[in-house]
Amino acid sequence: MTHKHGPGRERPDANERMRMRKLLASLTTALVLGVVVTACGGDGDEGNGNGNAGTPATGESGKKGGSLTVLSAADVDGLDPGYWYYQYDYMALAHPTQRGLYGWEPEKTEPSPDLAEDLPEVADGGKTLTIKIKPGIKYSPPLQDRTVTSKDVKYAIERAFLPQVANGYVNLYYAEIDGVKEFVDGKADEIAGIQTPDDQTLVLKLDKPQGVVATGVALALPATIPVPKDYAQKYDKGKQSRYGEYQVFTGPYMIPNDSSGKLTGYTAGKEIQLVRNPSWDPETDYRPAYLDKITFSGGNDLTVASRKILTGQGLMSGDFAAPPTAILKSALSSRKDQLLIEPSQGIRFVALNTKVKPFDDINVRKAVSAVVNKNDLRVTRGGPTLGPIATHFIPPEMPGFEEAGGEAGPEGLDFNANPDGDLNLAMEYMKKAGYSSGKYTGPPVLMVGDNQPPASKTGEALQSQLEQLGFKLNYRQVEHSTMLSKFCTVPKADVAICPNLGWGKDFFDSESMINPLFNGKNIVPANNANYPQLDDPELNAKMDKAATLTDPAERATAWAEIDKEVTAGAYMIPWLWDNQINFASENVNGVRNKFNSSWDIAYTSLK
């Protein structure tokens, strides 16, 4: 088809031109006003962003009934109890729908017996643990006529070692159970060290004492959630286990299912429905379970969801770490009672790779630690509300925190003392390292960080701080999962600095904070968490010994001493002990569980 341009255009007359100008002016004004009104959109006066918010409810009493909706950005990591390892999995599924040998009551930092009648009986110097299981705890439909036995817990632990379940912690905490290696290597059909002399007795035989198992803390992890072998085994065949889609429940709530056990109340990435478990007996459980129905809604935009929760009814936050800064500031002044800001026992740090020059030199590491302005790094995440400045690696409320120096940190570490950074001190350490000018003069060093804010902002702030000390950084910002799986957790990648790293507890025991990060035996080729690649035989021996202690007070002291030593080595620079900011609608009595640092659905009620 050919096009021909026509004759000249008609010019509008003068009146029409005047109307057009007026109309354009009105439209522009309306548009700008609309943008301004929308952008301002707050709920009240701006707050100063400091301080705590609401008073935590304990869940000891609450109104029975009602429905609650939890808004989250993402979905749970998976439906399989053997795979659950992260905060949101615990919040949405593990705590409200299942019972393991031990659990965590909201305000407690010691595990509470759940399926177990009591803490493990320890014998044989900590190598034999006997646990009695409560009788009469029933499964949900379609296995409502069955009760939990020790064999179900045995199978649950065994299947957690299967690659098709891909549990992330059994190799850390249960590997000392006798017979694990043979089972994993395929030379045995079961783990010989997990014994079931009768239906209500579980005996664990360990090759050597494991404090985290003897004290019950590691047995509060979801791998002890019972799984009936004859029911589940068919789903555990194949490349990936399908048991999660057919799981049976022991907790106060369950995901609705059909008569074959297939879950009908789960839409991947979108929604999880929880309803009351008809088989649950409140007399056997410490959870009150006030609510009748809970809906977990995924895929929500943080800003939109934050507004909905704070201004709506019957809503609460799920996997959000905090509302956006502007909304948080506004809520702190006008909706304080709807916020709960508490320590999460998480920590953020900058890792320095001791296998990459110049960070093999302790004086360079101390210099870097001295120059870092931790207050500025904290501002990139939203300021003091997000948590106190970290001065060592055991966070507040964890055993050993005070023994390791508390908020002030270990004594005598001048490079760790000034949260605003100290360039002069840093330069002194650089001179000790052989840089006579007090500044780094070597080649550029590789730093790999997250490309999304606020992590990207933290990395950029650190970059400008290090540049004061003469460092030229080859700074790459990549996707979060790429940062971890291709760079910062891969020793071969030889990344000198990783600025956007953090760690959280597995339970209330400081071994889970220190051992994975600093024990040389934990250096692995991929998914490595010993980011600085520290491998000090003396320190390793101290950590191995501390791991065998079974007395909680001795453990706290031992791990605190190790914390002081690794802080003194400046292998990593701790800068923030994370707070978790949970928020809910005004008609919700939210109860936070200290262990998970998020809302505990089984204790939450409506006003």
Partner: protein, 319 residues
């Protein structure tokens, strides 16, 4: 025509194989993350990671992995299982497809209706107040990012957080089969947001082509013969000018059926676009492969439909 359709269908199949191979190559040979490592959680021992790698078949040669994947896909329609949540990729895609289709088709009807109407009016009344206002608004709509427009719409009109609560807000989508009227009202804002930029573009495109067409000799002849102005515009002018609109609409609808990521994200509509985005973030390779293939299928199918439609719109086109 039948021969043409058969020929194009065979090309379509060949093209989908090529897309699957390229996608496979990119994500399996050059992954942004190690799926076995991601699946293994934090601090796994190397043996576990290797076991998982073996379990998922990731330690086999690439061509063997690709062959297995295509064999399962072609013979059983099996897209594999998500590395993230162990649920069938096919199940998740088909669960979400109705939401994406609802969003894309509804927005398409809206933008075509508005775009064509405005384009015609602007074309037959060029440089008038109506034309300038319409084209000015079109420019604003094209310039406004979809994400921003969606948030503004929510903050103004959502019934939960909006200043003027008129429509259901984010997360209110329900399937048509569950509640048709709620389905409809929950999609009004997403349709409007998604259609805005497209309608604007189509209006400008049609205006441009129709202005040229309306100056053609045969249009003058039609008027000279005494045909009514409406008939001249719609029957003769529009019919010639609409061809680029047909092409663009076909491609745009095809692309949107693969997922309108930004709109689905802001309005929390559980569609394929959001699924694709989440799978990229999680390096969930089977899901990425599935959503890419689906997107490619819709685009090549849309191209075929457009080309066939030409034959009906333009009698000069014959296959």
């Amino acid at each position: 025509m039948i021969q043409y359709i058969v020929r194009r269908t065979l090309w379509m199949i060949a093209l989908l194989f090529l897309v699957s191979a390229i996608t496979f190559g990119i994500f399996y040979a050059l992954p942004s993350a190690d799926p076995a490592g991601l699946r293994a959680g934090r601090s796994p021992n190397p043996e576990l990671v290797e076991q998982i790698r073996h379990q998922l078949g990731l330690d086999r040669p690439l061509y063997a992995q690709y062959f297995d994947y295509m064999k399962n896909l072609v013979t059983e329609g099996d897209f594999g299982y998500s590395y993230q949540n162990n649920i069938s990729v096919r199940t998740q895609i088909f669960q979400r497809l109705p939401a994406t289709i609802s969003l894309a088709i509804g927005a398409a009807i809206l933008w075509l209706t508005i775009g064509i109407t405005v384009g015609i009016i602007s074309a037959v009344r060029p440089h008038t107040l109506v034309d300038r206002v319409a084209m000015g608004a079109a420019l604003v709509a094209i310039s406004a990012p979809v994400y921003w427009l969606a948030l503004v719409a929510l903050y103004l009109f959502a019934d939960d957080i909006g200043r003027f609560p008129l429509f259901p807000g984010a997360g209110s989508y329900v399937p048509f089969s569950e509640d048709p009227s709620k389905w409809f009202t929950s999609l009004i804002m997403p349709w409007c947001v998604l259609a805005a930029a497209f309608a604007a573009f189509y209006a400008r495109l049609l205006r441009s082509t129709m202005i040229d067409t309306m100056h053609e000799d045969y249009i003058r002849t039609a008027r000279a013969k005494g045909l009514g102005e409406r008939r001249v515009i719609l029957r003769h002018g529009l019919r010639s000018a609409i061809t680029p609109i047909v092409t663009a609409a076909g491609l745009d609808i095809g692309i949107l059926l693969g997922g309108a990521i930004l709109t689905e994200t802001v309005f929390n509509i559980p569609g394929v676009g959001r699924l694709a985005y989440d799978s990229i973030i999680n390096s969930d390779l089977p899901m990425i492969q599935g959503t890419v293939l689906l997107g490619a299928f819709f685009i090549v199918t849309a191209n075929l439909v457009v080309d066939v439609a030409y034959a009906f719109v333009d009698p000069r086109v014959r296959y």
